[in-house]
Amino acid sequence: MDADFRLKGGLINRRKPLDFSFNGAGLSGYAGDTLASALLANGRHFVGRSFKYHRPRGILSAGVEEPNALVTIGTGAMADPNIRATVAELYDGMVARSQNHLGSLEWDLLSVNDAFSPLFGAGFYYKTFMWPAAFWEKLYEPMIRRAAGLGALSGQDDPSRYDKGYRHCDLLVIGSGPAGLMAALTAGRAGLRVILAEQDFIMGGRLNAERERIDGMPGAEWAAKACAELTAMDNVMMMPRTTIYGAYDHGVYGALERITDHLNDGEDGDGGDQPRQILWRIYSRRAVLAAGSIERPIAFGHNDRPGIMLAGSVREYANRYAVAAGRRVIVFTNNNDGWRTAHDLRSRGVEVAALIDTRSDIDLPAPAGVRVIQGSAITDTKGRTRVRSITLMSGEELACDSVAVSGGWSPTVHLTCHHRGRPKWDASIAGFIPAGEIPPGMDVIGAAAGKMATSEALQGGITAGTSAARDLGGKTVKMAMPDCEDRAFGIDPVWHIPSSRARAWVDFQNDVTTKDIRQSHLEGFRSVEHLKRYTTLGMATDQGKTANIPGLAVMAEISGKSMDEVGTTIFRPPYTPVPIGAFAGRGRGPDFMPTRIPPSHRWAEERGAVFVETGLWLRAQWYPQPGETHWRESVDREVIATRSSVGICDVSTLGKIDIKGADAGEFVNRVYANGFAKLPVGKVRYGLMLRDDGFVMDDGTTARMAENHFIMTTTTANAGGVYRHLEYCRQCLWPELDVALISATDQSAQFAVAGPNSRRLLEKIVDDGVDLSNAAFPFMACGAITICGGVEARLFRISFSGELAYELAVPARFGDALARVLMQAGEEFGVTPYGTEALNVMRIEKGHATANELNGQTSAHHLGMGRMLSPNKDFIGRIMAHRPELTRGDGIRLVGLKPVDPAKMLSAGAHFLEADAPSRASHDLGWMSSVAYSPILNSSIGLGFVKNGYERMNSTVRAVDFMRGTDIEVEITSPHFIDPEGRRLHD
C-alpha cells in the first residue's frame, strides 16, 4: 500500500518497494526514491537539528544544495555521517539516523541553546571565549565542538575500498538537463569523444522535475530517449552518479563516481568486486558546464520550520517522486516560478491554500481554486516540529502544513570560479552569472549561464556542441531545434521581509540570520569576505548554495549598495563534499607507499630476520637465533662472528648509478670533490659529493670498470636525490659532455662478505682462473668475474666494516641463490648473516660517516675530510665549500665519544656542554650523531660533532639529552675505534 503522501505517477518504480528505517522506525519507499522523498512520502519533514541553536529542521530542497537534512546512513563501521538525504538513493534495508542532538531528535536537550540565542549571534565565539587563552584548547573548543556539530564518525577504520582512475575525452559535458543533453547529442553525433557526467542517479536534470513537454513528449521521456541514443554511441561515455567537483588546470576535471553507495552492502562494506567510489581525473580538450541553477529561500520570520521548503523542490517531489509535501500547501514567491509550483500541485490534486506573491499587478493565469494574494508576504510562522500556520503582513493567519518558497534561482556558477573567475550580477534574472577568468576551454550554457528558458538551454547545447565539433575536428551535423514550451521569467527580487520581527534565517546550515548580518554590518565587517568569515555565512558543508545570495543581498540592502557593488565571494573545489577515503584511493595502510624488498628478502624471512623500514626498503635488521631474547644478543653475536671469521649482509639497497661515455671520467671528476681523473681501470675510490652550496650531499664508492665505464654507489637514503643531481649536472650544466647515466640500483643483488675469512669463502665460489690473492686483487680493486660456473658477477674489494671485505654483485635474479650459496660455502667458517644493526655497529667502530653525519648541514671540514677537496680541478661545491664558516679551524669536527663510566650508555641526539656550563643553547658545543654498543670494546661508543673537536681530543665534556633526561660525562676520542691504521683492510 502507498504511504500517506504518495501521489499517482512519477518516475519511481512501484514494482520495487523498498524497506528502510529512520531513527528505528520501519518505513517504505520505492526504487527511484531518495531517502528524502521516501521520508516525505511517509509524512516525515522533521529530520534534524540545526547546527548552533538545535532548532528542529526539515527537508528544504530536493538536491545537492540541501542544508538541513543531513543524516547518518549505515551502521557499524559503515556508518556514514552528514549525508544529504535529498541525494541519498534509497535502497532496501537502508538504516538512517538523524544527528546533532543530545537525547532524542524530538526532545533534544541542546535545544536550550535556542532559548539563549541572543547570546549566540555573529562573532559570539570571538567575543566570549577570548580569555583566558589556556581555556580555549581544553575547555571552550571541546565544549563548542560537542554542542555545535554535525554527525559523528564511526570511530572505526573505513572498510570500503576506493579507487582512482583517469579518463580522456574531447568534450566533457557537466550536467544532463536540456542544455547538457543537447550539447552531448550534438558533439556525439559529430563523432567527438564525449563524457556526460551527471551527479543524479538518473539523467535528465530538471526535465525529470517538470511537466513541460519537449518535441510533444514529457520532458523526462525526451531525456530518456536522448540518453538511449547517447548510450548507443561508442564515442560517448555516460557517467551518472558522478559529480564533477573541481575544475583544474589545462582541462583537467576532478570527478567522484559513486559506485556502490546506492547498494545495501551491509556492515562489512563488501560491495563485491566494486569499489565504493572512484575518484576520476578527467582530461578534456573542451568542457561544457550545464549545471543548471539552484533555488533560494526568502528570509521571513521563523522561515526554518520543518515543512517550509523551496518551491521548485516541492514541485520536483510532486512530479518526479509522486510525493505531496503536505495536504495544505501555501506557496510564497517573488517570481513567476512559484506560480508553476502552484499549478503543478493543483493539477496533481494537492490543495494549495494560498499563492502569495510579493509583487503586485501580476497578470499570470491563476491555478483553479487557489486564493492568490499579491503584494503581501509572510512575516511569521508557527509550529514546533512542523509548520502549522503562517502570518501575512496584514496580520491574517493562514493554516497550512507546508510552505513552498521561491526567492528566485541562482545559476550554478561554482565550477566557473575555480580559476578565480568572479561572477557578475545580472539584474534581469536577479542572480550572479559566470564572468572573469572562467576555466579555459569551458563553455557555460543554460541556466548556469543565466539563460533560464528551456529553449535557451536547448539552443545553448546545440551551439556549444557545434563549436566543440568545429574546433576539435568533428563532423558537421545539422541539429534540429526541438519544440518546447517556455515559461516567461519574471522576478522582483525580495530577499527578506523587513516587517518580520522574528528571527529570519539566510544560512540554515550555519544558523545565520538576517540579524547576524545586520550586526556584522554594524561592527564594520562589511566586505563580502569579512561578512562571510565573521558570520560564517556560506561556510558550512553546503558552501552556502542556498544562503549566499540572500545573505549578500541583505548586506547590500543594509549598506545601501547595489548587488554589483557588494559583489560575491567565490567558490573553491570541491563543489560537494568528497570523502577523504576517495582522495586516498588505494594508498592506505601498507599501500600508502610502495615497499621495496631486497633480492634476499625471502631467504632472510626464512631465517627469521627482524625487518626495519629504511625509506621504502624493508631490510633485515638482525637475525635472531634460538634462545636469544634481546636484540642486543643477536647483534653482538653477528658483530663478533663477522670480526672473528666472516659475515654476509645484503647491501643491494645502496644506490647504484651506471655511468658511461667518452667523457664519463671527466663527469665523475666534476661531481666528486676529491680527484677521480687518475683512478685506474679496475680500481674503486671513495668519493665525497658536495652540493653547490658547499655542504656535503652524499658519499659512496665509485668503481672504474673500463676506461669509459664507472659504477657509482650512493647511500641508500640518497639514491634518488643523487641520481636526480647527476642528471641535472649532465643536462643542465654540461650538455657538451658525452656521458649517459642509468639508475642500476634494482639491477643487481649485492652482498658484503666481511671478516678475516671472507677471501677464503669467496675462493670457494669464484670460477677457475679468478685470482683473489692480495697481490692480484688488492684493497680497492674491482673487476668483472664469474662465479658458480659462469654466473657473471662484479667484485669490489671495499669495506664498510673495517675488516678484510668484499662486495659481490650478481644480476638481481640470482640474489636469493647467492645468499644460499654463500651460506653453504661458508659453513666451515661459521659464516653469519648480519643485519643493518650490526652493519651500523661496525661502521661506528670504524668511524665511517653515514646519513646521521651527512645530514645536509655538515661540510667536508666538519667531517675531517677538508683535505680531500681537490685544489686541481673545478667540482660541484668548490666555491662555496671555501666559505669561512664551513672551513673555520674552531668549527665542529667529527670525533669519537666514549662514556667515562663504561656502565653508562650514550644516546644519539645528546648535546655537548662544558662541565660547568649552564644547559643553554648558547653554550652548545655540538651533538652526538650516532651511537652503538661495541661488543668488541665492551662499551657504548658514539660519533658526534664537537666544536674544536681535535683540540679537545682525550678531554671530557658532558653529553646532555633533555629528551631522555640524561647528563653524562664523555671522553672525546678518535672516531676510529678499531684498527685505526687500517691493517685489516689490506690483509
Binding site: 588546470d249 589545462h250 581525473r281 636526480r724 643536462q731 685544489p871
Partner: protein, 104 residues
Amino acid sequence: MLINHPLLGPRDAAEFTCFGDASLLLRPDPGPNGEPDQAAMDAFHDYLHLRDNPAGTHQELWYHEQGDRSWLVVTRDTINHSIIKVELARNVKARNLKTREGAG
C-alpha cells in the same frame, strides 16, 4: 596541469618535480682552481640563493622524475598556470653556451 613534453607529448604535472627558477642553468664561471676569490663567492651566492618568483611569466625547471628523467625548461604564467613553452633543458643550456662563447 599538463606539461607538453618535447619528446613524449602532454604529461600530467604529477609526473614531474618542479625546481623553480631556471636560472639554475646559469652556473657562474668558477674561475681558476683552488681557493676562489671574492668575486666568484659573490657570483655563486647570487646564483644559489637569489631566485625570482614572479607573478606572471616565469621560466622554471621541471624534472620528469616519474618519466624519462629529462630536465625541462617550462615557460609558465604563474598566475593562470598557462604554459607558453616547453624545451629540453639541455638544448636551452647548449644555446646559452653558444651565446656566451659568441659574446665572449
